[in-house]
Amino acid sequence: MSDKSPDKPKVAFYWCASCGGCEEAVVDLAEAILDVVAKVDIVFWPVAMDFKRKDVESMADGSITATFLNGAIRTSEQESMARLLRSKSQLLVALGACSHLGGIPGLANLFDRASLMQEVYVHPPSTINAEGTLPQTHYQDNGHSVELPALHETVRSLDQVVDVDYYIPGCPPTPKTFLAAVQILLGSELPVKGTVLAPDCALCDECPRKDTKPEKPVFTEFKRPQQMLVDEEKCLLAQGLLCMGPGTRSGCEALCVRGNMPCSGCYGPTSRVRDQGAKILSCLASLVESKDEAEIDRVLSTIPDPVGTFYRYGLPGSLLRRKKPGVRQAPLPSR
């Protein structure tokens, strides 16, 4: 990293609204990371190395070969960093589910900003805040002023803010997915702009339990893994568990299913699907056994959090995007 060679591709990493798991995924490359590092110059990676915003500002436009940006965009600072990195980079790659589709932070789109602030700063049982003090974007004390980024009303995926060239899916992307993607980008021929750098087939294709999937798994109830002893061989849908596998892009090698947990959909939909939640719903709805309306309602009521289930990683990027502002708010989960 010290011997900056002019012909080596320059690479940047940045994080926005995310948990840090995607950064971990990069580190999880283990020894393989050395091969990558040998081929590139890392010019910006705040989580691992000391860089400042002004370092990026001082670079020429387009001087970074590729920026890997993880996390959704929900603050003014994140938005401005995304714009800055976009202008400095030849390729902008959305890394991980949050950046790709909005991710877990995107579920905040079920609420408005005001009620989120109340929930986090005023109502938590561990907080005493009788005055209802909320964070301010601007604070002045003793002649010093401090700025905090503003929180947006809506969480957005990266491509809802700036132009994105490629996507690496997953929460987080598996090291294998990340490495394969990097190799594609380092290769001689770049894929079509907008490509998600993972297989374009649903997860069932690589699921070890594929052969045990019946032609028609029938639901009389949607079960959750903690409510039962889950058979380790049999298709999870056939056991009454809500597995998103049939509607989720493959590439993770069915890690969750191998861990006896249903797929929760983090790799997002295939390229042919615009709304993962709607698609999996239209598939599952036909598997409810009863044709009686009241009974169908009962079966469906066994899904405790439909949006959090079907749109867990992709609400901002879906056709729904967010709950309409001004409409009655969903009650916040009680504690």
């Binding site: 649903a202 032609e215 493959s250 939909p269 036909s286």
Partner: protein, 669 residues
Amino acid sequence: MPEISQLSGPEAVRVGFYVCHCGTNIAGTVDVKALAGYAASLPRVAVSREYKYMCSDPGQALIEQDIADHKLNRVVVASCSPLLHEATFRRALGRAGLNPFLLQMVNIREHVSWVHLDKKAATEKAQDLVRAAVQRVALHKPLQKRRVDINPSVLVVGGGIAGIHAALTLAEAGKQVYLVEREPTIGGHMAMFDKTFPTLDCAACILTPKMTAVGSHPNIKLWTYSEVVKVDGYVGNYKAQVKHKPRYVIDDLCIGCQECIAACVYKEGKTPDEFNLGLSMRKPIYLPFPQAVPQKVVIDRDTCIEFKSGKCKKTCVEACGDRLAIDFKQKETFDEIEIGAIILATGFKTFAPERNPYCGYGRYPNVYTSLEVERLINASGPTAGEVILRDGKKPASVGIIHCIGSRDANTNRWCSKVCCMYSLKLAHLIKEHTGAEVFNFYIDMRTPGKGYEEFYDRLLDEGVHFVRGRVAEVSDWAVHPSEEGKLVIRAEDTLAGFVRRIPVDMVVLSVGLEPQSDAQDVRRLFNISCASEGWFLERHPKLAPVSTFTEGVYIAGACQGPKDIPDSVAQAGAAAAEALALIDAKSVELEPYTASILEEECSGCKSCISLCPYQAIAFIEEKKKAYINEVLCKGCGTCVAGCPSGSIKQNFFEDEEIFEEIEGVLAYA
């Protein structure tokens, strides 16, 4: 997703746009000149024209000429519903050497001009729809129709007069016909009538020869006491499963001698006779009526002692002797048949007058339905043709109340069409049989039809009384000694302008016609539509009255709506002719709207397999992928919507085409 721009270059998309005035049907509400001008401003539109009648020969020629002159490779026509003229314009494209599926129609008549009054708003809506079509058509791909052979056999469902007539017509034309009737005999409602209006021919005299002809026709396989339980396939190649309910009498061995009935341990019938609407009793082993076809008895297992206790002396078996036709162990059996066309003639049911409590039906024994009176008048009926009350007395006065369960906002809004005429007929027959004073209570007298008005005139001359007005109540509440022991009909006389009380001995309720109670199940089974009232829906009320929206399935008789015998027979003939036209074409073209699996992308999740209503999808074990049999696929799109990874595409309804259309319609200028 292919970008439209990819279709430009050497093979640039060139759209021809045509808006039809449809006389003033469209041009009266939509500014067609402005619409043509708007379309001309849209990208890729090379020619834009308006014309008085696009479907006319010159209209079509205009398109053909433009295709040649302007090198058009896509056409959009804004006119009526594609149901009417999509085929017309596709043929025009074909004649000009363009693939017919490079056409898109915009329905600005049914969807715009006929449903809007505001010309400006209607024109704007038409523009939105046109923009959607112009965007969509750019993505259209050339498609090829498939041609399949047609099985020349026909299934007729329902053995009333319509089904009988259709079956005989087809059989006479040399086609194999399967006639399926769920009752033990054919004949339907007509077999219950005594005389038919307006000629007063005896119903049995004109019907039974046709029934016998059905029973003996070499080309007709008659299955009574049977029901169609499953239908698969598509036009020209349907498969049906028919369930035969056990009659506990072996069809081939029973000769119809009825000695078993005489010998039954029940000396008298104890079960209400269905055919006589409970006005007489029958035994557990019975023939529905003397002229039943087939002449085969049937055992009712709910009342037969052998079925109830297993300890009957079985005198019926003894009487049958070495014919050995009775088989208490008979089970239901099934037949699978292959047919090219289906005619549904499943008929109607009569309105249940208990739903109108003011009529007194079920409360006063001398209140009858019209169908019950048909049986009373019938010479082979429960009273051998005597019109007598339940106490055996002859009525001296009779009131016939029209429109029970018809033209009534509380029950059925429709006119049942036959009641005025049959009420007149019953008035005549009751008067003839009893000499009673007969009063008809009617709302409007509806007698259109050959010889119908003349029949009404005849009744007026016969001294039958007519009271114009709705009946408020039938009761036994006497307020005057002359009303003691009588049924009093209270009705407004709208011609005289006061309320009348007319005491009578007998009340006849002219009950209306309703769809069969299982019409919805039948509709689903045969994949056709019902109008909101439950009558089967014809493809077009005027121009395709016996066709349905499912190719190769036709409807005849009262299952389509209230109808008298002449109309039912005419429709049955029409349905038979439609079926013949289909069959004799030997093969049929199928729309190419089939779905197919993107094999590379399919994850083999099997989600689609159980979704297919036509069993067209199979799972190929070796490849671990789904496969759609194109011949069985009817292009319903269910699997396309249901595939969770978007790995099924449907011709003409590809996601890109649909999204392009949505984006077009939503892109407000």
